[in-house]
Amino acid sequence: MGPPEAHAPSPAHATQSWRLTTQRLPTDSLESLLLSLAALAVAAILFGGFVALQGYDPLAVYQTLYLGGFGTRFSIENTLTQATPLLLTALCTLIPARVGLLVIGGEGAVVLGGLAAVLASVALAGAPASIGTILTISAGALAGGFWIAAAGALKHMRGVNETISTLLMNYIAVALMNHLISGPIRDFSQTLKAQSWSIPNAFMIGNIRGWSVHWGLVIGLTFCVLVHLVLRHTTLGFSFDILGGNRRAAQMAGLPIGRLMLLACFLGGGAAGIAGAVEIVAVHGAASESLVVGLGYTGILVAFLARQNALAVLLVALLLGGISASGGLLQRRFDMPHAVTIVLQGLIFICVLASNASTGRWRRSSR
């Protein structure tokens, strides 16, 4: 894992850097964009070499990747569906990263969000559909939010490393869900697979008219834009950045460090919790192992590739959604093993982390 402060200015000119944050923005963005594109290009070349070594034609492989991810209307719908949860789980890493925390607990927050959604919806059965759906999703947000905020509290009060704690909390969340769905809230009429009670049908959200993409996409898009606005254009976002840039400077400026940390964690966890709740109300209708498919972990990748920029998350989620949407087609057309798309994702991740290290270097040397 890369250092969370990687995007932040180096300590030497940290104290004055927060003053300059907004003014230097265009150069920063351009540099980030160029570096991201370079990282993607390097990953693409490496992956091309990898598949060529395996005896496939790299160009044909990329053509198939495009066809499966974006080539037809069905592919695009598939990509959007795959990207939807990533929009939200990326925020779980992105928002805490702005205050300098490296949170990788998205997976656990998704699971808890899903569980809370099921419990809330069952308790709310009989309520009007729209209110029921909103409260169900809110329950997911609260559960995910408090879950990650707990890690933030541990960090602030006891100095527990948030990366380790959120990673381990993922296992706790999954174990908790497995316990609940194999006993206390299990639907025993489902004999083949352990799953929870089903949520009332009225609370399910359907597809966007004329598309086979569910409304979760709109929720995800809205959140990314909102988060971007908050982070870029409010004093809260500015405070986050100061805290993330230099904790002591933030302290000297009189910022409430603890509250900011907890809030950032809560917002991040809340986004992942919504992702879990949306999976329940839009796709599965019940909690089961289907929630544990790596949405949270892929979200980390999205956040890093987007360089903790909420708008860039939109594009990156689409890219990774497209890669996973076309994974099956690669298998079918080339008889490639399932793991090939994971290799591609891994290469992208490594290249992006490596390019993080050169952030600022180009700028300094060009001065």
Binding site: L67, T72, H284, S288, A325, G328, R332, H338
Partner: protein
């Protein structure tokens, strides 16, 4: 790494053999005819070369691909979630598949969800779950594996030195009980005092528990095992390592136990090729197809080198009995392992009496252990 290569080559080898036999048995008029090209998609929940459920289907896929005009597309490691809907739709929309074989048991509800949307596509599912009201363009098919288990039992009964056998089951479900009963009855038809320890692990796939169970059984004096789990690979290998004999399940496992392998109960999912042909030509097809040897839904693995001619002949004679329908699996007098009478003397259950088999929630006399049901 070399292990996986040998597995893959084994798989293709098996397919070639299969294809070979199929070409021999295909009516010659099939050739020379112009057949409509058709794309067939196979979807697996795990890897194709798992020495188990998925491999059995992958072998069948290769036999079906050898049919005239058939093009095969495959995707593995598709979870039993909404993901499989997308894979099915992707195969239909991007690959132009007209017949789909989503092979995992848990794919069924997703098949029913999207089948009405694609009336020009046939969905064939290994499970025999079709019931009135389900989509007409879906088929459920399944084999009576208790019949080849009976044959394995005969071999085991004749070969065992201790008279103690072991049966490892995954879930407490009717077909696992039927297989166990078949195995025990076969063994006791060859050796009256044979007993069989029955262990239900509770998981489709739990290699650690399966290996532990085999070790425990060997320590108790069991000298032949059969494992009804998703991939019996670990159980059969553990048995081989401990120097006891084993029978296979799902697909041909003889390569895993060169010394102790007797024979095995195999599916013949390639029967699904009949449905493909029917869909290609517009001929009628059944929505539900179940059967044993007589209906070509099950098969017997090649005998291991440890099995003498005498045993092979006894096993093959019993198989002929199933083929001719002269041998009934469940016939009286029959008691369960709690001493209750199940069938009176002279009572017989037809080998295709599905209702009876679905209600088997007991183990026959000679089985030691319980179903695990309340």
């Amino acid at each position: 790494m070399s292990d996986s290569i040998s597995r893959r080559s084994l798989l293709t080898g098996a397919a070639k053999v299969g294809a070979g036999t199929l070409i021999v048995s295909t009516p010659s008029r099939m050739f020379g005819q112009d057949v409509k090209p058709i794309t067939v998609g196979f979807i697996y929940a795990a890897t194709r070369n798992d020495y188990g459920w998925n491999q059995a289907h992958a072998v069948a896929a290769r036999r079906i691909a050898a049919l005239p005009g058939v093009k095969l597309v495959e995707q593995e490691r598709v979870p039993e979630t909404v993901q499989v809907e997308r894979v099915m739709e992707s195969m239909i929309q991007i690959d132009g598949a007209k017949v789909l074989f989503p092979t995992s048991f848990g794919f069924w509800p997703f098949i029913q969800k999207i089948a009405p949307k694609y009336p020009d596509v046939l969905f064939v599912h290994a499970g025999g779950l079709w019931k009135e009201g389900d989509a007409k363009n879906t088929i459920g098919y399944r084999g009576y594996m208790e019949e080849p288990h009976y044959l394995c039992g005969i071999a085991a009964g004749m070969m065992s030195k201790t008279g103690k056998l072991g049966f490892i089951g995954s879930k407490p479900l009717y077909f696992i009980f039927n297989n166990c009963n078949g195995f025990v009855m076969g063994a006791r038809s060859a050796r009256q005092d044979a007993t069989c320890q029955v262990v239900i692990t509770g998981d489709w796939d739990n290699p650690v528990k399966e290996a532990e169970t085999v070790n425990a059984l060997v320590d108790q004096g069991v000298d032949i095992i059969v494992a009804n789990v998703d991939s019996p690979k670990v159980a059969v290998e553990t048995a081989e390592r401990r120097g006891i004999m084993s029978c296979g399940y799902h697909t041909d496992l003889s390569a895993l136990a060169p010394n102790g392998f007797l024979t095995g109960a195999e599916w013949n999912w390639a029967k699904g090729g009949d449905f493909v042909k029917a869909w290609q030509t517009g001929a009628p097809y059944p929505n539900l197809y179940r059967g044993g040897f007589r209906q070509e839904m099950v098969a017997l693995s090649p005998f291991g080198k440890a099995v003498p001619q005498k045993v092979q002949q006894a096993v093959l004679a019993a198989r002929q009995g199933f083929l001719d329908d002269t041998l009934k699996l469940y016939k009286g007098p029959l008691k369960d392992n709690k001493g209750n009478q199940v069938l009176a003397a002279g009572q017989e259950i037809s080998n295709t009496d599905n209702a009876f088999k679905l209600n088997v929630k007991w183990l026959v006399e000679g089985a030691i252990g319980s179903t695990g049901l309340q």
